[in-house]
């Protein structure tokens, strides 16, 4: 469904992504792992047709996707109705006067007659139904995240790209999010640098290494069991500990930073 | 209003740097008297704020945009000296870190936008706020854009008179005030309307925020 071939990207002189190629089939749940600064967010923005990669191609259902290609109004409408991106900073997505308007923005743009009804439905599904008349700016971080999700899901996309959706959530909300995503029928790619969450977000893992290339594409469990590659991805590091008078070294995974 | 380097003569920018240096020292003293040890963090963050406010686009019908500078808002909300220093630092940052904007034009821009713009906004607001608060805020924003444009245009316009070779040919900016003034002032009088709007809405927003307990 989504196909990336040889995607590289640089900001000025800095290499952000190096020759990334992978495909995602309909219905897959994929988790995109990588240490901070390995280019996860940029990769999602490229896959969402927001940034033109320096080299390489993105295809969605066979159609080329890039800012240039999406200047075509019909193609833009088709793609934006099917593929949605949740930004890491939910504030960047919120601009409407009320939560109801925020969620109804997409359907209204498409001229759907039942825009408000849909918005109410998805607000309830995500548990923000009681805030419909409030401005989204005043909500807590977790609630903003849910409003953003509702605003994306209201268009019933086929492909959902989620950029660190758990970063701003407390453990209970994180548990809720994991269950909620598992119940969704659409294809989901979720980025995280939180290893303990990875197996719950998908069975297939894409891992970006510190050289900004694709370090692993395969089972989550297989990757998490591979100490060498966890170290290489900078997702694990070695600690010195003291037990009494004996000093020794540990491998360590930091989940909550 | 970004003048590249090479259009202002040293007879202009060297004295402008001298005046600026004195005012920067004075401004820092004024800020320290008010903010004490919080001066540096506040000034740094206001600089970043000023930097990004200059990036905020005011949409126009038809898909195009204009950019405000946020100087009226900065001056009314945080004072003239804070605004002057923050704008000076933004110009320095743009010139020396982002490679965007001239280093010789810096002191002229700092004095025109940062100081004259901020003071004009402040006094316009003080003068009009008893008549009508909204009008005062809007006019303050408009003036903070138009007066600096006028000053920069004048400084550019006198270049042929103060810097020319023996044959009378210009060495730096080649047009006199009769050409520059209308060319610069007319567009800025329009962009100033956006600046007025930003000042009005931004200041109201901040006042409302301060009224609520944090």
């Amino acid at each position: 469904m989504l196909e990336l071939t040889g995607v590289s990207h640089r900001y000025g002189a800095a290499m952000v992504l190096k020759e990334i190629s992978f495909g995602v089939e309909a219905g897959e749940k994929v988790v995109l792992l990588g240490a901070n600064g390995t280019g996860k967010s940029t990769l999602l923005k490229i896959a969402n047709g927001l940034i033109a990669p320096s080299a390489g191609q993105v295809r969605y259902r066979g159609e080329a996707i890039s800012p240039g290609a999406l200047r075509n109004a019909a193609r833009n409408r088709r793609f934006r109705g099917r593929a949605a991106l949740l930004f890491q900073n939910p504030d960047a997505m919120l601009f409407n006067p009320t939560v109801l308007d925020e969620i109804a923005f997409g359907p209204r743009q498409l001229g759907l007659a039942d825009a408000e009804e849909r918005a109410r439905h998805w607000a309830a599904a995500l548990g923000v139904g009681r805030h419909l008349d409030r401005p989204p700016f005043g909500l807590s971080g977790g609630e903003k995240q849910k409003v953003c999700l509702a605003a994306l899901l209201v268009l019933e996309p086929e492909l959902l790209l989620l950029d660190e959706p758990a970063a701003a959530l407390d453990p209970r909300s994180t548990g809720w999010l994991v269950d909620f995503l598992a119940g969704l029928r659409c294809t989901v790619i979720t980025t995280t640098h939180n290893l303990s969450l990875a197996p719950e977000l998908g069975r297939r893992a894409l891992v970006l290494g510190e050289d900004h290339g694709l370090l692993h594409d395969g089972g989550v469990e297989a990757f998490l069991g591979d100490r060498e590659r966890l170290l290489a991805a900078n997702l694990m590091h070695i600690h010195r500990h003291r037990h009494g008078l004996v000093e020794h070294r540990h491998f360590h995974v930091h989940d909550w930073d | 209003m970004h003048i590249p380097d090479g259009f202002l003569s040293p007879q202009t920018y060297v004295p402008a740097y001298a005046v600026c240096a004195g005012l920067w020292v004075l401004g820092m003293r004024r800020l320290r008297a008010r903010l004490d040890e919080e001066t540096l963090p506040w000034l740094a963050v206001m600089t970043a704020l000023s930097f990004v406010l200059m990036m905020v686009a005011l949409p126009l019908p038809g898909g195009s945009t204009v950019h405000a500078a946020g100087i009226g808002l900065l001056a009314l909300s945080f004072g003239v000296w804070m605004s002057f220093l923050a704008v000076s630092l933004v110009l320095a940052m743009q010139a020396l870190l982002f490679g965007d904007g001239g280093i010789t034009a810096l002191p002229v821009n700092a004095l025109a936008m940062g100081l004259a713009g901020s003071m004009a906004a402040w006094w316009t607001w003080r003068g009009l706020r008893r008549t009508n608060e909204s009008l005062a805020l809007f006019a303050a924003g408009w003036v903070s854009m138009v007066l600096p444009a006028l000053l920069v245009a004048l400084v550019l316009g006198i270049q042929p008179a103060i810097a020319h070779d023996t044959a009378g040919r210009p060495l730096f900016f080649p047009f006199g005030p009769e050409v520059v003034l209308p060319a610069v002032l007319l567009p800025h009088a329009l962009v100033g309307l956006g600046e007025g709007l930003l000042t009005l809405l931004g200041h109201r927003y901040l006042t409302r925020r301060r009224a609520q307990p944090a």
Binding site: A92 | P4, P10, A44, A57, P174, Y205, R209
Partner: protein, 193 residues
């Protein structure tokens, strides 16, 4: 306080800052196009393998303003029937030279190290810069989020709302960041020194 001359890199950057200031001054005191062209050549040679990229970036930066000024001057000179070429060459060469010197300086010199002699100035510029980068990234996200969420071209009112939401977000974050940085400074004992 640490000795500002202890670090040879810092010393080099400080000398580069001084050299840059002198070069800018010199480029505005010389009015012979041959000297300016020579200066431009030297600057490009100093840029080494990056010369091509430097020159194209300089051209892109100065083109709009210089083209407008040059065309205007050409028209004026034509009306007055005097040859404009000497002046046009001088003006454009000077602008190119100054911009090239600045870009080379920005590319090569670590400004924070060059300003290392003043702890306050380094702190001020460092915090302002990192905060500005954060804001710039957020600014890009506000823009992209609207594109991403819009199956159709967003209307005037929507674009206006996004600008308003972004501006108020920056104000909010700026106020919070200023308070937080002041507290951080205090806990680090910055004011005790």
């Amino acid at each position: 306080m640490n000795n500002p001359f202890a670090d040879p890199g810092a010393r080099r950057d400080r000398l580069a800052l001084l050299a840059y200031a002198l070069a800018v001054l010199a480029a505005t005191l010389v009015h012979d196009p041959r000297w300016l062209a020579g200066g431009l050549t030297v600057t490009l040679l100093l840029a080494g393998s990056g010369a091509g990229g430097l020159l194209s970036r300089v051209l892109r930066t100065v083109l709009p303003f210089n083209l407008a000024v040059s065309m205007g001057y050409l028209m004026l000179a034509w009306l007055r029937t005097e040859p404009p070429w000497q002046t046009l060459l001088l003006l454009n060469l000077r602008v190119l030279l100054l911009t090239a010197i600045t870009f080379l300086f920005v590319r090569r010199v670590n400004l924070f190290r060059a300003l290392g002699f003043s702890r306050s100035l380094t702190y001020l510029l460092g915090l302002a810069y990192s905060q500005a980068l954060t804001f710039r990234r957020a600014h890009e996200d506000f823009r992209l989020a609207l594109v991403s969420r819009s199956p159709r071209r967003p209307g005037l009112m929507d674009r206006y709302r996004v600008s308003a939401a972004a501006a108020s977000w920056y104000l909010e974050k700026a106020l919070a960041a200023a308070r937080e940085s002041a507290q951080a400074l205090r806990s680090r004992g910055f004011f005790d020194a």
